[in-house]
């Protein structure tokens, strides 16, 4: 029988595209039941019933796909609970029908452009954290940092996450590629690094503070513990 832990591992590969965090650490997986014959039943719950339907759909549909890939899984049911478009989303995700089928006449295309937009924000935020790390070295100035190559980067999970996303977005990630890249894959110049880093930090702050508000609301509404809590509310 497939272990629940194995299914959870698969769910941990699903990110909230808007927050760049796994749905498992965000507390969005309400329940996950593995039946004896390989049937998996996952319930997702979001911080509010009014969370944006497009991101909700992406998470539900990505969750279904991730769990389906676990060897031995026979059937997957992913149900989004307590959401004002739950009926539409659950029906379309269950049928593998796509976002357009969930909201006929309300959608002009699929969600891949939206996903890429947020992947690019995530990449900027991730690279910003790597850049901050690099600048902590007292010997490093802006010119030295922009001259670094991928192969010069430290062995760090944030670096690995950057490179994985660059690969997914079709941006250079090979050992000789620049350690930090602009949105078009070109290297940054020393002159623009300071402002680029300001932007990257702001994007990172946005993703993190949204995640914080989501966690606070989940804690209030569903009693989900919040490991990032700053003050008891």
């Amino acid at each position: 029988m497939i272990s629940q832990a194995r299914v959870f591992e698969a769910l941990a590969t699903v990110h909230d595209p808007e927050l760049d965090e796994p749905i498992t650490s965000l507390g969005f997986v309400g329940s996950c039941v593995v039946g004896e014959r390989g049937d998996v039943d996952v319930h997702l719950r979001l911080p509010t019933p009014q969370c944006a339907p497009n991101f909700a759909y992406l998470m539900a549909s990505d969750a279904r796909e991730a769990v389906s890939r676990v060897p031995g899984v026979r059937a997957v049911g992913v149900v989004l609970d307590d959401h004002y478009t739950a009926a539409e989303i659950n029906a379309a995700v269950g049928a593998g029908a796509g976002f357009g089928a969930a909201f006929p006449n309300e959608s002009a295309g699929d969600l891949e452009a939206l996903r890429e937009l947020f992947q690019r924000k995530a990449l900027l935020a991730r690279q910003g954290r790597v850049c901050t790390m690099l600048l902590e070295d007292p010997a490093a100035d802006d010119a030295a940092v922009v001259a670094l190559r991928v192969c010069d980067l430290p062995d760090h999970p944030e670096v690995a996450r950057c490179l994985a996303l660059r690969r997914e977005l079709g941006l250079p990630y090979e050992p000789h590629a620049p350690a930090l890249v602009a949105g078009d894959g070109s290297p940054l110049t020393a002159g623009e690094l300071a402002l680029w880093l300001r932007r990257a930090r702001l994007v990172g702050l946005s993703l993190e503070s949204n995640g914080g508000i989501c966690r606070s609301l989940l804690r209030v509404r569903h009693g989900v513990p919040d490991p990032t809590e700053e003050v008891a509310t």
Binding site: E106, A108, A113, W196, L202, V203, I213, L217, V231, T233
Partner: protein
């Protein structure tokens, strides 16, 4: 007026409501949305200090007496402007429609204003309604909620061609403050409904109108900041930033304030409590008391007494032509006007 440490602050609350979300006002067949909406707001309230939390029943419907106590008696507010949210597909009389907010007009003369609204999907009838509303109430601003549902549509954008006659009407009538509030839905649903790019385009096309982006574009504070640096007529409404973050997430709040002061600047930020989600009292006291927690924030602009005075009231008073008593204005030479330096910084690449 709020007075502490020998300083006096004129308080203009740019974002509050007088709503009725009690079950008696829920539209039959849409109860789940009406209930979900107010319960979501109620959860937001819990991000404030525990002694300011209300019961759900009280939160669903509060009285004019409650409003007076919370906003004017305990809340230090000198002048307040209500921002309507209709949601008539869910709430029979509206959630806090213009007429509902206007019930308070006679009670607080000179201290309470209503803003109007429009929805371009209502076409000619909507345009006539805007004109009639303005004739009756003479408001200087409107609140636009782009995620409002209307007749099968789940939202709109400021760039929709149908919105243009409404902006022209606002210019004609002298309705110069356009408060924009983004929500989770819009047409088409596959786009990012929180994107503020449409505000950017509208602000460029209408340089005589002021665009106040409510809750600083959250959850897209970064897009908002990059836009606001470039558009002289785009302002930051601080509602939600203070309420949801100052108490519950002080480190995030400090970072947000630092970024806003850097990118948007103290001349273009305006306090809003978002009452009744959060009471104004603790937000005003907290904002005046607030400073960066440590020296890791040294590369952000300082939160000076002059900045506090502008953000708490003086900036909004200017936009709404409200006279501020002499003793509450900035003293000669107090504070320095914003420079163009920040705006020049944004020509970079992401």
């Amino acid at each position: 007026m709020y007075e502490t440490d020998g300083e006096k602050y004129f308080v203009f609350d740019t974002h509050l409501h007088f709503w009725d979300a009690s079950p008696a006002n829920w539209v039959q067949g849409a109860e789940q949305y009406a209930k979900g909406w107010i319960e979501c707001f109620h959860a937001y309230q819990s991000l404030g200090p525990a002694d300011t939390h209300w019961s759900l029943e009280h939160f669903q419907k509060y009285s004019a007496d409650d409003f007076e106590k919370d906003v004017y008696v305990d809340g230090y507010v000198d002048v307040a402007v209500s921002q309507p949210t209709y949601l008539k597909e869910w709430y029979a009389k509206g959630f806090n429609a213009l007429e509902q907010n206007a019930e308070l007009l006679d009670r607080f003369p000179g201290r309470f204003m209503v803003n109007g609204r429009f929805d371009p999907r209502e076409g000619e009838a909507g345009l006539a309604q805007l004109e009639a509303d303005h004739e009756r109430y003479g408001f200087k601003g409107v609140k636009l909620y782009t995620a409002e549902w209307h007749d099968g549509s789940r939202g709109w954008a400021l760039t929709d061609p149908a919105a243009e006659p409404f902006f022209a009407k606002c210019e004609e009538l002298g309705i110069k403050n356009i408060h924009v509030h983004k929500g989770p839905t819009i047409w088409p649903l596959d786009k990012d409904s929180f994107d503020v790019k449409d505000v950017d385009i509208a602000a460029t096309s209408h340089p005589d109108l002021n665009f106040v982006v409510e809750h600083v574009g959250l959850p897209r504070i970064e897009d908002f900041c990059f836009m606001a640096t470039q558009e002289p007529n785009v302002y930051a409404g601080l509602s939600v930033v203070v309420g949801a973050l100052m108490h519950a997430r002080p480190r995030f709040f400090a970072k947000c304030m630092g970024e806003l002061l850097f990118w948007v600047g103290e001349d273009k930020m305006m306090f809003g409590s978002d009452y009744a989600i959060w009471e104004p009292k603790w937000q005003i006291e907290g904002l005046v008391d607030w400073d960066y927690p440590d020296d890791t924030f040294s590369d952000f602009p300082r939160w000076t007494t002059a900045a506090k005075k502008k953000v708490l009231g003086l900036n909004a008073a200017r936009l709404y032509d409200v006279e501020v008593p002499e003793e509450l204005q900035l003293a000669e030479g107090e504070g320095t006007p914003a420079t163009e330096d920040d705006a020049q910084l944004v020509e970079g690449r992401a």
